[in-house]
C-alpha cells in the first residue's frame, strides 16, 4: 500500500516569534539539527513550551522557519505551504470536519487527489477497517467518543499515504486506559505501513513505549537524542535523567578518570563505574544518578549510604520504599517483594548502589 517512505532532515532550524504582548521576541526553536531515517518513528519529547510542537508545525508547513532548512526525501520544502507537502498531521484536537460524516472526513484527501469514486470507496472502507471504525462510517464525528474521533483523524491522515506522518500529542485528550490502547495501535499501524512518523508528546512513558528514537528538547534546543533505553539508562545530564524517569542524585567527588572507568568517592565509600558523562572532571563534585531499580535495600552499614525507612508503598509486582538519607529522600524499588526482605517503616537500613546500572554526571 505504501510508497517508499521518506527521510526528514532538519538543518539549523530556528523559529523566532514576535512576543504578542510587546515588542520583544521569543525564540521557540533554536538551531535544531536532526536526521530522521525513512520508516522510523521518532518522538519529540520535552516539557511544555520546549519548542517540540513548533518543530512539528514547521515540518508540516504551518509555520515557516526563521532560519534553516527542512528537507523531506530529497526536496527542500522549507518554503512550501502545507498543501504542497507530502505530510499528514494528526492534531491534538483532532481537527475533524464537523460538517462531514466519518466517511467524508476520511475521503477528503483522496477527493482532492482526484481519485476515482470507486477507489475512494474501497480505500476508505479498508482504512476504516484498519482502525476498527468500519461500522461507524456514516456517523457524524460529533457523535463519536474521543478515542473514536482520534481513530478517524488517524485514518484521515494515513489514507493519503503521506511520506511523513506527523502526530501532535494525539492522545493527550484521552483517558489513561484508552491512551495505552491507542499507543499500541498507532505503533502497529505505523510499523505495518512502514511510514516515517514524528510524534510530539510530553509524556515520557508514551515516548519510550512508542519510539525508535527519542529527541529530548528543552528551551528550544535538542538536549539529547537516542533510543529509549539509551536515554533512560544513560542520560547525559541531570535534566534528562530527571525528565525521563524517577531518579535519585547522590553527591560525590570524582577521584580518578581512566579510559572507561570513573572512580568516585561517596562520603567514605569508593565506587567504580564505567558509565559517566563526558563532562565530568577529576577533583570536581559530581552526582551519581540512581534509578529506583538500580539500588538495593540492605542491612545498616552494609550499603553505600545509610537511612531510615519512611514509608513502603505496595504495588503488587513491586514495593516502593521511601528512605530518608543524608542526600534527602530516596526511592528504592524492590521487585518481586514476596521473595525479598522488606524492612518495616522506621527501620535503619543501608542502600547499596549497583554500579553497572548507575551513571556519574556532572553536578550542575
Amino acid at each position: 500500500m505504501i510508497k517508499t517512505s521518506a527521510s526528514v532532515k532538519l538543518e539549523n532550524i530556528t523559529k523566532v516569534f514576535k512576543d504578542p504582548a510587546g515588542k520583544g521576541e521569543v525564540t521557540a526553536v533554536n538551531n535544531v539539527n536532526y536526521d530522521i531515517k525513512p520508516g522510523e518513528l521518532i518522538t519529540l519529547l520535552g516539557p511544555s513550551g520546549c519548542g517540540k510542537t513548533t518543530t512539528l508545525r514547521m515540518i508540516a508547513g504551518f509555520e515557516v522557519p526563521t532560519g534553516g532548512k527542512i528537507i523531506i526525501g530529497n526536496e527542500d520544502v522549507t518554503q512550501l505551504p502545507p498543501n504542497k507537502r507530502d505530510t499528514a498531521t494528526v492534531f491534538q484536537s483532532y481537527g475533524l470536519f464537523p460538517h462531514m460524516t466519518v466517511f467524508e472526513n476520511v475521503a477528503y484527501g483522496l477527493k482532492l487527489r482526484k481519485v476515482s469514486k470507486s477507489e475512494i470507496e474501497e480505500r476508505v472502507i479498508k482504512t476504516l477497517d484498519m482502525v476498527g471504525l468500519k461500522h461507524l462510517a456514516h456517523r457524524s464525528p460529533s457523535r463519536l467518543s474521543g478515542g473514536q474521533q482520534q481513530r478517524v483523524a488517524l485514518a484521515r491522515s494515513i489514507i493519503v499515504e503521506p511520506s511523513v506522518l506527523l502526530l501532535d500529542e494525539p492522545l493527550s485528550n484521552l483517558d489513561a486506559l484508552l491512551r495505552e490502547q491507542m499507543r499500541v495501535e498507532i505503533r502497529r499501524i505505523q510499523k505495518s505501513l512502514g511510514i516515517t512518523a514524528v510524534y510530539v508528546t510530553h509524556d515520557r512513558v508514551e515516548a519510550m513505549s512508542l519510539s525508535d528514537r527519542v529527541v529530548l528538547m528543552n528551551a528550544g534546543k535538542i538536549i539529547q537524542t537516542g533510543t529509549p533505553s539509551e536515554i533512560y539508562e544513560s542520560p547525559d545530564s541531570k535534566f534528562v535523567a530527571g525528565f525521563i524517569g524517577k531518579v535519585a542524585f547522590l553527591d560525590a567527588e570524582v577521584k580518578e578518570i581512566s579510559d572507561d572507568f570513573v572512580t568516585v568517592k561517596l562520603q567514605d565509600k569508593i565506587l567504580k563505574t564505567h558509565k559517566f558523562s563526558s563532562d565530568v572532571k577529576t577533583g570536581e563534585p559530581a552526582v551519581i544518578m540512581c534509578r529506583p531499580e538500580s539500588m538495593k535495600v540492605v542491612e545498616e552499614n552494609k550499603g553505600h549510604i545509610n537511612g531510615t525507612v519512611k514509608t513502603n508503598v505496595y504495588l503488587g509486582n513491586s514495593v516502593e520504599s521511601f528512605i530518608d538519607t543524608e542526600h534527602g529522600e530516596i526511592l528504592v524499588q524492590i521487585d518481586n517483594p514476596s521473595q525479598k526482605k522488606i524492612y518495616t517503616e522506621g527501620a535503619k537500613v543501608g542502600i547499596e548502589i549497583v554500579p553497572e546500572l548507575s551513571k556519574v554526571l556532572r553536578n550542575n
Binding site: 515557516v64 498543501n83 483532532y94 464537523p98 477528503y108
Partner: protein, 729 residues
Amino acid sequence: MFSKKKVYIYIFVLLIVVFLDFWIFSNIKSTFVKITNDNNKNIVTLIDTVHSETDYNKWVKDISAKYENLSIIYLNGVPGFDDLVTYAGSEESLEFYQENSESKDFQNGLEYASYSEIYKSQNKFIYDGKNIDLYFSPVYDENEDIIGVGIYLFDNSENESFFNLLNIFAVGIIIIFAVIMYISKFTRDPVMSYIILGLFIIVGIFVVYPLYEAVRLTFIKNGVFSLEIWKTILTTNQYMEAFWGSMKLGLMTATISTLVGFLFAFTLSRTTVKGKKFISTMATLPVISPPFSLTLSIILLFGNNGLITKQLLGMSNFSIYGLGGLTLVQTMGMFPIAYLTMVGVLQSIDSTLEDASLDLNASKSRTFFKVTLPLAAPGILSAWLLVFTNSLADFANPLILSGSYKVLSVEAYIEVTGMGRLGNGAALSLLLLLPTVTAFLIQRFWVSKKSFVTVTGKPSGRITELVSKPVKITLNTLIILIIVFLIGLYGTIIAGSFVKNWGIDYTFTLDNFREALQRGKEAIGDTVTLATVATPIAGILAMLTALVVVRKKFPGKRLMEILVMVPFAIPGTLIGISYILAFNKPPILIVGTAFIIVINYVIRELPVGVESGVAALRQIDPSIEEAASDLGADVPTVFRTIVLPLLRPAFISSLSYTFVRSMTAVSAVIFLISAKWYHITVLIYNFSENLRFGYASVLATTLIVIVLLAFGLMRLLVRDNKNLEKTIN
C-alpha cells in the same frame, strides 16, 4: 526565500519590463502627437488654399465656428514689409495676441510665414484656460502671393487628458507586473497573497479613493488649492444652522431613544411580565422597517391632512414638520438599537449582585440606583452613542419631514443635486463625519473597554423583582402605549394603501395598488435585481475577509481591518457623494451604471458581514482548516469546502442582512441612481414629495413584505442546520 540570485533575476526582469513599458507607451504618445500635428497641419493648409474672402473679420469668425477646437487670428500684410492689421474672432483672442505678440515664438512664426513656411510654437501657451498648440502659416491670394499670416490656436486639452490616462496605464502596468511577479516569486502561498492583494485593491479603489476624492475636492477652487469652500461652509449661517440642527436632533433622539430602550430592556430583563416574546419582537421590529415607512404614517396621522390632527382634533395650524416630528419618528425607528444594546448588557449582569444588595438591607430603589444602574452604565452610554450616530447619519426621515428645519445630510444632498455645488456637498457631509466618527470611536475603543460585564455563561434565569407594584404598573402602561402606537403606525401605512385620498376621501380602493405597482414595476425590478446581484458577492467577500483577518498574518492587516470597517462608520450621504466624485471620470467611469450601485451595496454592507464572520470563525478550531490544507487543499478549496460550510449561519445571516439593507438603502444610493437603474426607496420619496401618499404607502408596504420574506427565509435556512456542531470536544 530571498536568495541573492532570485532578487537579481527579479530586478533584472523588472528593469526590462519598465524599459519595454516606457518604450511602448512613449511610442504610442509620439505616434499620437504626430497624428495630431499632421492633422492640424492639414487643416492649416486646407484653410490657406481655400481662402478667397475679403471680409477678413467674417472669415476669421466662420473658421472658429466651423472647427470646434480651433480659433484663428489673421494678420493682414506681409511681416517685415507691411504694417500688420489684426483680425481676431473675439475679444479674448485679440487680447491673447496682444499679450504674446512680443514673444519669441510669435517673432519666429511671423518670420517663417513670410518665407512661406508653416511654424509650430515651441513653448506652451494657454488660451481660454486650456493648453493650446500654435501654428503660424502664410495666407495666399488667388495668385499664390502671400497676403497675410494666419495664427491657428488648436485646443489640445483633450490630448493632455488622454496622455494623463496613458501615463496612469503605463505606471499601473508596471506596478501590477511588479506586484504579481513579487508574489509569485517570493511569497510562500501565492494564492493567499493574491486574495489579500485583491482585498486591498478593492478597499483601496472603493473606500479610500472616493473618500480621498471627496476630501480633495473641498480644498480646491478653480483647479488650485484653496480653503475657500471650508471658509464658506463655516461662515455661512445656513450651513452652520444645519450642523447645529443635526447635533440637536441627534442629542434629542439619542436621549429619548435611550430612555425608551432602557424601559424595554429593564422591564424584559429585570421584571416578570407576560408576553415577553411579543414585547421583544415589537421592540426590534422597527430595525428592519424600510426608510420612509414610519415617516409616511406619521404624516398620514399628524400631517397637514392628518387623521388625528385634522380629522379628529380639528387642528389647522399644527405642523409635524421640523424638530419635534423628526425626534418622534427617529425615536420610534431607533429605540430598538438602544434596546438591543442594553438588553444584552442587563441580561449578562448577574442578578445575584442585586440579591446581595437587597440581602444587605438596601431598599429596592437604592439597589437599582447603586448597583444595577452603575453596572449598566457603560451599556447605556454605548446605546446612546449608537443612536446618536444613527440619527446624524439618517437621511430618509429628514428628507421628507424636516420642513424648514435644517440638517446636514439633507443640506448636503440639496447642495449636490439641487445646486450642483459638489464641493459644498462634500464638505457638509465631511462635517457630518466629525461627530459620527468621534461617537463611533468612543463607543468602540473606550466604552467597550470600560464594560463591567463579565461573561459567566448563560444569562441567569431567576429574577428578583426590583420594582414596587405602582412603578411596575407605570412601566407596563408605558410599554403598552408605545407598542400600540407602533402597531398603529404600521397599520396606518397598510391602511393608507387602501384608501382613495387620505385626509379627504377614505373610501376603500385597490386603485393605489394597480397604479403604484404599474409605475413602480421597473424600480422594484431594478432594486430586486441589483440587491440579488450584490448579496452573494458581499456575503462571499465578507467571509473571505473574515478568514484572512482571523487566520492569516500579513503586513498591513490592522489597516485592512480598519478600512473594511470604515463604510460602517461614515454616513451614507458622504459615501454617495464621494462615489459620484470619484467614478464620474476616467480611469473609472461607472456613474450611471448598475455596477456602481452594486459596488456601493457590497462595500456598505461588508463590515457587518465581516464582523459576524470573524465572530463565528473565532469559535472554530483552527486545526480544522489546517487539517484540510495539510491534506492538500489550497486556500480557495479550504474556503469552499471547509470555511464556508462551517460559517453557514454567519454567511446566511450576512446574506439576508445585505439583501434587506440593499433593498432599503437610500442615503447613498439616491446619488447613484440613473434613468436606467432606479431604486424603489427613491420612488417612495418621489411619491411622497408629490403628496401621492397612497402610492407611497403601497410601495412601503411592498417593501416591508419583501423584507419580512427575506428574514423568514433566512430563519428557515439557519434552522436547517442539524449536522453542524461547531467544535468537537
